[in-house]
């Protein structure tokens, strides 16, 4: 009976399987069914050892209880000590309630101290008991004692290891593990719908793989034409509240536009101020930009045009790209093309990551946890904002040698990474794989930039030197 294995691979022991089913029945509240199953299978949810412990406790046979605990096999010394501590604690409590102070003191001194539980715990116990004494020993009646005993049994259950006791809700835990593993392995993950009746698998037909729209000048109704920059516009950023647009000229000033009216609200910087990149804070009131002239540094402004803060000075290197995490906690900037600086805005703690090759662009994930950098060596490196990773995750396959190619996160839970490429294709990776899961063809020239729709996980847009913007979606659109 003990060694009977079930399951198509013969990995599951029948006795263990039935036992956790009985446990989950109890947890779900089906006590009659649980007892019935115990009777039918002959397998008990509570092990024999634990049953005997329980009965000793409920009948206050403390010596038997302690003896049984000492005889249990498979316990580490630490666990045994913890269990004994719990039992003795209850024993002392009951002693005091009966007024047997001397006995309690003796037990405390000899047995509890001998358990090596650590001075603090023993002292806390002593203090707790004295406190109880002050409340008056007649306050602790039989009902409360029984309550404490039951609680104690639960504590013991948590301390003792399997197979004497089972970890709480074991079956639920195992099922959740299996489902999470299925979701993690889902390459084209586009929906969070999970059912136990089928293995979770998102098909490729729901993943963006085809051009849905091609936007050329004249075909999309232009709401406004924002004219004011002297140089080509190299970077735009929507404010998180959708009302304003920031634009950077290529080595030029920064301009703030109102989206409804098309009027330029502010120009940041005078003639000769060169801005390399900019980013919004989540409150849509503050923005940062990196500048390389006249004074290299990072400048923070508010949407009314006032300068809030500036990191500048002789030692500031050139800032080539900058980003703010969506929760506004961290400011990430690229210094001197190869260094990534992560600044925690609350604590002012700074972290530096040095890359071997030049970084061309930076992008942060929607869940604030990660960011990716495109490198000159035709790789995309992903790092974590918190700083626990020693090495980055690497993605390759696209082409990048001469131009600034931008990439972005996208999809449910920022699961995917998309990047432009000099071979006119859009490359998409699943975070967990180094090689692209999808390569989108359609553009005629270098794809400079991609942007995944943050609200619609099945839609992304790409911009190319062929003067068009393409919208990509699944082929069942």
């Amino acid at each position: 009976m003990e060694n009977l294995m079930i399951g198509p691979k013969g990995l599951i022991k029948k006795q263990e399987f039935v036992r956790i089913i009985i446990q989950s029945m109890h947890a779900l509240g089906y006590r009659k069914s649980a007892v019935c199953l115990e009777a039918e299978s002959g397998i008990l949810c509570k092990s024999v050892d634990f049953e005997s412990l329980e009965s000793h406790i409920l009948n206050a046979n403390w010596d038997d209880c302690i003896g049984a605990l000492n005889k249990l096999k498979g316990l580490s010394d630490e666990t045994r000590a913890s269990a004994l501590f719990i039992v003795l604690k209850q024993f002392l409590l009951e002693c005091l309630s009966r007024g047997e102070d001397a006995l309690a003191l003796e037990v405390l001194r000899k047995q509890v101290a001998g358990l090596w539980m650590g001075k603090e715990k023993v002292h806390n116990l002593a203090v707790g008991l004295l406190f109880l004494k002050e409340l008056g020993s007649n306050k602790i009646d039989n009902g409360i004692i029984q309550e404490f005993r039951k609680r104690m049994i639960i504590d013991l259950e948590n301390v003792l290891p399997p197979p004497i006791t089972l970890p709480e809700r074991r079956l639920e835990h195992l099922v959740e593990m299996a489902v999470s593993a299925q979701v993690d392995n889902c390459t084209y993950h586009t929906s969070d719908a999970i059912t136990l009746y089928e293995d979770h698998h998102c098909g490729r037909d729901h993943f963006p793989s085809e051009t849905v729209q091609v936007l050329e000048t004249g075909k999309v109704t232009q709401k406004h034409t924002l004219k004011s920059h002297q140089n080509p516009v190299s970077f735009v950023a929507w404010s998180p509240d959708d009302t304003m647009l920031l634009t950077c000229g290529n080595m030029e000033v920064l301009k703030l536009w109102d989206v409804e009216t098309g009027i330029c609200k502010h120009t940041y910087g005078n003639d000769g101020f060169i801005v390399t990149s900019c980013a919004w804070f989540p409150d849509s009131k503050r923005l940062v930009c990196g500048s390389s002239d006249p004074e290299k540094g990072i400048y923070m402004w508010d949407s009314e045009g006032n300068e809030i803060k500036a990191w500048k000075g002789v030692r500031m290197p050139k800032v080539s790209d900058i980003a703010v995490t969506p929760d506004g906690q961290h400011l990430i900037s690229i210094f001197s093309d190869k260094e990534i600086h992560i600044l925690n805005l609350q604590t002012n703690a700074e972290r530096v990551i040095s890359e071997q090759h030049s970084i061309t662009s930076l992008s942060v994930s929607g869940d604030n946890k990660f960011f990716i950098v495109n490198l000159n060596s035709q790789e995309i490196h992903m790092w974590d904002v918190a700083g626990k990773w020693v090495k980055p995750r690497k993605y390759a396959g696209h082409m990048q040698q001469k131009y600034v190619i931008r990439s972005c996160f996208g999809g449910l839970n920022s699961r995917f990474i998309a990047s432009g490429s000099e071979d006119s294709q859009v490359y998409v990776w699943n975070q967990l794989s180094s090689y692209p899961i999808e390569i989108l063809s359609g553009h005629l020239m270098t794809v400079n930039c991609v942007s995944w729709n943050p609200r619609r996980p099945q839609m992304l847009a790409s911009a190319s030197d062929d003067q068009t913007v393409r919208i990509w979606g699944p082929n069942c659109f």
Binding site: D337, Y403, V404
Partner: protein, 109 residues
């Protein structure tokens, strides 16, 4: 046209005479004694913001070498060549290094 990625060097740099893109650090200068058809040239251990052309075998003053012409990545002007392989042992030290022609350079400041 895509935005060309350009690296900026800190310190004394030699720049492209036509578009002022940084090409090499004065600190990376190895030798001033080279010559090209257009005049003097300098040997550098490293150069940035250049694109490399196809390899070809060329007979130079110092012997047969495998070289590749290099161009400024921003304006496309030819600025020199890179030594890919040297055929004689005494010339091996040049491998992987860049020669920038004086007439295409601006700087040292």
């Amino acid at each position: 046209m895509g935005r060309i990625f350009v690296v900026d060097l800190e310190g004394r740099t030699y720049k492209c005479k036509f578009c002022k893109t940084h090409l090499a650090l004065a600190g990376d200068l190895v030798s001033r004694g080279f010559h090209s058809r257009r005049g003097k040239a300098y040997l550098f251990s490293n150069a940035v913001n250049i694109s490399v052309g196809p390899r070809e075998d060329r007979m130079m003053l110092s012997g047969m070498h495998t070289v590749a012409d290099i161009y400024c990545c921003r304006c496309g002007q030819i600025v020199g060549w890179k030594y890919e392989a040297a055929h004689e042992k005494s010339q091996k030290y040049k491998e992987g290094k860049f020669v920038l022609e004086r007439w295409s350079l601006f700087g040292g400041k």
